[in-house]
C-alpha cells in the first residue's frame, strides 16, 4: 500500500513536469496564447533545461560553495535566534514586571514586517553572511520567544510544587523544571523556526550578496535566465526538504519522553 502510494506520488511528479515541458517547448504545440513560439519558454522555462542547469551545477561543483553559505547562514540564524528567544522568553516568563513592561514592544516588533529590516542590516553588517544571519534571527527569535513564554506560563503548578517540596531552590527550579519544559516547546516549534531561518537566509541573499543560492537566483533573474531561476528554486526546495527531514529526526531523538498516541512496542 505504502509502495503504491509512493509510486503514485512519483508518477504525479513526472506528469506535472511532462505537461510543463509539453506546454513550453518551442514549436511542439501550435501556439495558442502567444504568436511567438518562444514566448512560453521565456516566461515559464523548460523542465529539461532546468534539470540540465541543476546537473551542471552539481557535476561541475559550482553550487556547493553557495549551498554551504546558505546552510551556514540558516544554522547560525537558527542557533542565535533560538538561544535569544529561549533566554528572553524564560526571563519574561518568570518576571511579571519585565513582561508587563515589554509586552507592547514585543507585540509591535512581532507585528512589523521584518523583511524591511534587510536593507538596514546590510548597512550595519555588510554584504557578507552576517546581514542574512541577522535577518534570520529576527524571524526565528519571535517564534521561539512566544513558544518559550507560553511554555513557562504553562508549567504544571503541581509539578512545580512537588519539585519545591523535594528541596529544589530557585536556580534548580529553573534548571530542572522551567528549562526542560521550555525546551520542549522550542522543539515543538523546530520545524517552523528552521524554516524561518532558511527564509531569512535566502531573502537576505536575494536582496544583496556575493554568495549563496539566493544570490544565484538573483543573478539569473537579472539576465532573464528563467531556467536558472527555476533550477535555483528546485535546489532550494530539495535543500529545505533535507533540512526538514534532519529536524524531524532530531526531534524524535530529543523528545522521547513525550507521549505519542497509540505507541506500542513491536515484539
Amino acid at each position: 500500500m505504502k509502495n503504491r502510494l509512493r509510486l503514485a506520488q512519483v508518477l504525479l511528479l513526472v506528469a506535472i513536469f511532462s505537461a510543463w515541458q509539453l506546454a513550453t517547448q518551442p514549436g511542439l504545440l501550435p501556439p495558442i496564447v502567444w504568436e511567438n513560439p518562444d514566448r512560453a519558454a521565456f516566461f515559464f522555462g523548460e523542465p529539461v533545461k532546468i534539470f540540465k542547469a541543476v546537473w551542471v551545477w552539481f557535476s561541475e561543483g559550482a553550487i556547493y560553495s553557495h549551498l554551504w553559505v546558505t546552510l551556514e547562514e540558516t544554522v547560525l540564524a537558527f542557533v542565535i535566534g533560538s538561544a535569544l528567544g529561549l533566554a528572553i522568553g524564560l526571563w519574561l516568563g518568570l518576571s511579571p514586571m519585565a513582561s508587563a513592561l515589554f509586552d507592547p514592544y514585543i507585540t509591535a516588533m512581532n507585528a512589523m514586517p521584518r523583511v524591511v529590516l534587510a536593507p538596514i542590516f546590510m548597512v550595519w553588517f555588510g554584504l557578507g553572511i552576517w546581514s542574512k544571519v541577522a535577518l534570520g534571527v529576527t524571524l526565528v527569535f519571535f517564534i521561539v520567544f512566544f513558544n518559550v513564554y507560553q511554555g513557562v506560563k504553562e508549567v504544571s503548578p503541581v509539578v512545580l510544587n512537588n519539585t519545591v517540596m523535594l528541596g529544589a531552590n530557585r536556580r534548580q527550579l529553573l534548571r530542572y523544571v522551567y528549562l526542560p519544559s521550555a525546551t520542549s516547546w522550542v522543539f515543538s516549534s523546530l520545524h517552523t523556526s528552521v524554516g524561518m531561518a532558511f527564509v531569512g537566509a535566502v531573502v537576505g541573499e536575494y536582496l544583496g550578496s556575493a554568495k549563496g543560492v539566493g544570490y544565484l537566483i538573483q543573478q539569473a533573474e537579472g539576465a532573464f535566465d528563467i531556467n536558472t531561476v527555476f533550477a535555483g528554486i528546485l535546489v532550494l526546495t530539495a535543500f529545505a526538504l533535507v533540512l526538514d527531514f534532519a529536524v524531524g529526526h532530531a526531534e524524535r531523538r530529543l523528545l522521547v519522553w513525550r507521549p505519542t498516541q497509540g505507541e506500542t512496542e513491536q515484539l
Binding site: S156, V159, P180, V256, R258
Partner: protein
C-alpha cells in the same frame, strides 16, 4: 511529647476574584495535632479545605492567621521536614522513573552514583525494579503513584503529607497500595497526615481520624481514636465488627456535615 505537626487556630481566607473585599474563608480556627509516629487521617466532605490544610502544613500556603508548629518550631517558608504526595500527577514528565526518584537527592548534592544506587533500591522497594528507564507516560497510574512514593521516601522525611494519593486508582490497586503504604510506614513510623474523602480508607489506615466540617469556615468537629490492632490488612479489616462499629460512629457525626456541604453546593449552583 512535642507534636510532629500542630495547627494552632489556623484560619485561611482567600481573596475572591472580582468582588472587592469579598473573601472566601476556607478554614476557621482549625486546631489539630499529629503526634510523632502517628498516622492521622483527615476526612471531610468535598470542598471543605482539606487540601488547603495540607498546603499550609507543607509551607506552600501561609495561613491568614494562626500558626503551624513543626516538631515544636513555628513554620515559616517551605517545610523541609515533610514529604508531600500530591493528589494529581506530580512527576516530571521529561525525567525517567529513576531520575524522578533521585531528583530530591540531586537537589541536595548527593553524588550521582550513590543517588542512582539508592534510587534503584527504592524502586525495588516499591516493586518497580527494571522500570527505572521508563518515562512517566509509559507507566500505569499505579506505577506512577509508586514512583511518587519512592520519590518522597528516598529523602527520609520525618513527616508525610498525603493528599488523597490513591483516589484516582481502581479499588484493587488502591487496596494494594494502601497495604504497601502501611508496610513501609511500619518500618520506621513516620508521622503521617493523610487526607481522604473515603471514610473506610481513613479508618483502615489510621491511628486517629479527624473529621472536618463542611466549608466555608471549616473546622475540626470530631476526633476518633482507631484502636484496631496492627499489622492490618486493609481489605480484611473492613469486615471486622470493631471496624463496622467505628465506621458507624464516625459516619453518624459526619452525615450532617456532608448533607450541609451538599446543600450548600446545590444552593451555590442554583443561585
Amino acid at each position: 511529647m512535642t507534636a510532629a505537626v500542630a495547627f494552632e487556630r489556623v484560619t485561611c481566607a482567600f481573596a475572591a476574584r472580582g468582588g472587592e473585599g469579598r473573601s472566601y474563608t476556607a478554614l476557621k480556627d482549625v486546631t489539630l495535632t499529629i503526634g510523632e509516629g502517628e498516622f492521622v487521617s483527615i476526612v471531610g466532605p468535598t470542598g471543605c479545605g482539606k487540601t488547603t490544610l495540607l498546603n499550609i502544613a507543607a509551607g506552600l500556603l501561609r495561613p491568614s492567621s494562626g500558626a503551624v508548629r513543626i516538631l515544636g518550631e513555628t513554620l515559616s517558608g517551605i517545610n523541609r521536614r515533610a514529604g508531600y504526595m500530591f493528589q494529581s500527577e506530580a512527576l516530571m514528565p521529561w525525567r525517567s522513573c529513576l531520575a524522578n526518584v533521585t531528583a530530591g537527592l540531586e537537589f541536595r548534592g548527593t553524588p550521582p552514583e550513590e543517588a542512582k544506587r539508592r534510587g534503584e533500591d527504592w524502586l525495588a522497594r516499591v516493586g518497580l525494579s527494571g522500570f527505572g528507564d521508563r518515562y512517566p507516560h509509559q507507566l500505569s497510574g499505579g506505577m506512577r503513584k509508586r514512583t511518587a512514593l519512592a520519590q518522597i521516601l528516598i529523602l527520609d522525611p520525618q513527616i508525610l503529607l498525603m493528599d488523597e494519593p490513591f483516589s484516582a486508582l481502581d479499588i484493587q490497586t488502591r487496596q494494594l497500595m494502601e497495604n504497601e503504604l502501611l508496610e513501609l510506614w511500619s518500618a520506621d513510623r513516620k508521622s503521617v497526615a493523610f487526607i481522604t474523602h473515603d471514610l473506610e480508607e481513613a479508618i483502615a489506615l489510621s491511628d486517629r481520624v479527624v473529621v472536618l466540617s463542611a466549608g466555608p469556615e471549616a473546622h475540626a468537629i470530631g476526633e476518633f481514636t482507631i484502636d484496631l490492632p496492627r499489622p492490618r490488612d486493609v481489605a480484611e479489616i473492613r469486615l471486622t465488627p470493631r471496624f463496622i462499629e467505628l465506621h458507624e460512629g464516625i459516619w453518624h457525626s459526619m452525615k450532617e456535615e456532608v448533607l450541609k456541604g451538599y446543600a450548600q453546593t446545590r444552593n451555590r449552583v442554583s443561585a
